[in-house]
């Protein structure tokens, strides 16, 4: 489990996977710190000149002869710095700026527009189209490298900010002790997950589980050992779920919910039985020595099709009722609807 929620939300809400920095693609392993610049100019001399200047500075360079080609290059390989000429056939620099700004990218693209000395009036239009900066041709290498440094600084800042926002969003839905999702994530995401399976008429299983006599562990061995038990419990549960599909949330105290999209009742019951065995079979290793732990499991499922389509609350209530039955029947057992 290594302190990460077991699942990364596919829709990017809240939780996000950590993206590799945009400028460190696989082609760049040879120059670990290099940034890629996309040079766009219709004139081969301008392209070669900029390419040579940039490569001398340690940049990796890709080139395109017009805006349309530039967009193709960008789709093939993300590039955080773009240096584009203005006047080009097929798609000019202005259109390219607009097209780039009109789309979602891995991260911000810093755009520098190249313009002729007598076209300075056009610069405003370029900045309005989405360019971050401009350079007058012929470009002096020192000026070019200074402007690109500015661009890199801004990109680095933007990246830090984005990573931090992501981390904040991740923490907001993570249980700090166990690293699995928290109640908030469960309440936000279970309705979404149900809506998705309902659209396709697919099943979804839900297992609510609770450690048996956990209060005694805390009372006799202390809360620190109690925490160790909770962590080990989560580890055992998380080890059994399908990565990227199933997910686990701690809803409070010693109660957890396991969500199994695309899994029907029989499948969910099988998972719960396996988990029950996995918990009870081997004592938990703690700093206070091995501790025998058992857990009770209540299982509910949204069946495939349309006939029975409980909402998140109803499904949780069903699983909770089954969990209660499992407890009442003597604990360390699995209960499903109808006493199964």
């Amino acid at each position: 489990m290594s302190g990460q929620p077991t699942r990364v939300a596919a829709d990017g809400a809240g939780e996000g996977r950590v993206l590799t920095p945009p400028c460190h693609g696989d082609l760049q392993t040879a120059v670990p710190d290099a940034w890629t610049v996309l040079v766009v100019d219709d004139h081969p001399v301008a392209r070669r000149l900029l390419e040579a200047q940039l490569e001398r500075e340690g940049y990796l360079v890709i080139t395109a002869a017009n805006g349309r080609e530039a967009l193709e290059r960008l789709s093939g390989r993300f590039c955080p710095l773009v240096l584009t000429d203005w006047m080009m056939p097929e798609m000019d620099g202005l259109e390219l700026c607009r097209a780039i700004r009109g789309r979602e990218w891995d991260s911000y693209i810093y755009l520098i527009l190249l313009t002729a000395r007598d076209s300075l009036d056009d610069v405003l239009m370029g900045l309005e189209a989405g360019a971050d900066d401009y350079l007058v041709k012929p470009v002096h290498p020192m000026e070019l490298s200074a402007r690109l440094r500015t661009g890199r600084r801004i990109l680095a800042l933007e990246r830090t900010l984005r990573d931090r926002n992501r981390e904040i969003a991740r923490l907001a839905v993570t249980d700090p002790l166990t690293g699995v999702y928290n109640r908030r994530y469960l309440m936000e995401n279970l309705p979404r997950e149900l809506a998705r399976v309902r659209r396709y008429g697919h099943p979804l299983g839900l297992i609510m589980c609770d450690l048996d006599h956990f209060k005694e562990v805390n009372d006799t061995l202390g809360h620190a050992v109690g925490d160790e038990v909770l962590k080990e419990f989560t580890r055992r549960l998380a080890g059994q779920v399908r990565q990227g599909v199933d997910w686990l949330a701690r809803c409070g105290g010693e109660e957890f919910v396991l969500v199994l999209p695309e899994t029907d009742l029989a499948g969910s019951l099988a998972v719960a039985r396996r988990l029950r065995h996995l918990v009870a079979a081997t004592p938990f290793a703690t700093t206070a020595g091995p501790v025998r732990v058992t857990a009770s499991f209540g299982v509910a499922a949204r069946p495939p099709g349309e006939a029975d389509s409980p909402d998140a609350e109803a499904l949780l209530a069903r699983a909770d009722a089954c969990l209660y039955q499992a407890k009442a029947a003597g604990r360390n057992r699995v209960a499903g609807p109808g006493g199964r």
Partner: protein, 109 residues
Amino acid sequence: MAEIFRRHEVLERLEGDEDLLRELVDIFLTQSRVQLEELTAALALGDAAAIRHQAHSLKGAAAGLGAEALSHRAAQLEQAGREGDLTAAPALLQAVQEELQRFQQTAAV
């Protein structure tokens, strides 16, 4: 007075890389021949927009290579194209051609 080839200045921008300068001049001459053909064709068709674009491109590349006089001539042709008045364009194109010749000869040394 515009210089034919500000070689020293360009070389400085290229950090003294003579090989790169030779490569760039080669690319430039090849591209310029194509562009002159395009300009001649555009002039025959009276296509002011095409003249403007080709001349603009030539102007920029020439400036980048220190072909100052050529860049100026191309700028005049671009201006004619922009204004849509092509009466002076044949003479301007002629001047561009001559300036390109001069650049070629100077750069070849």
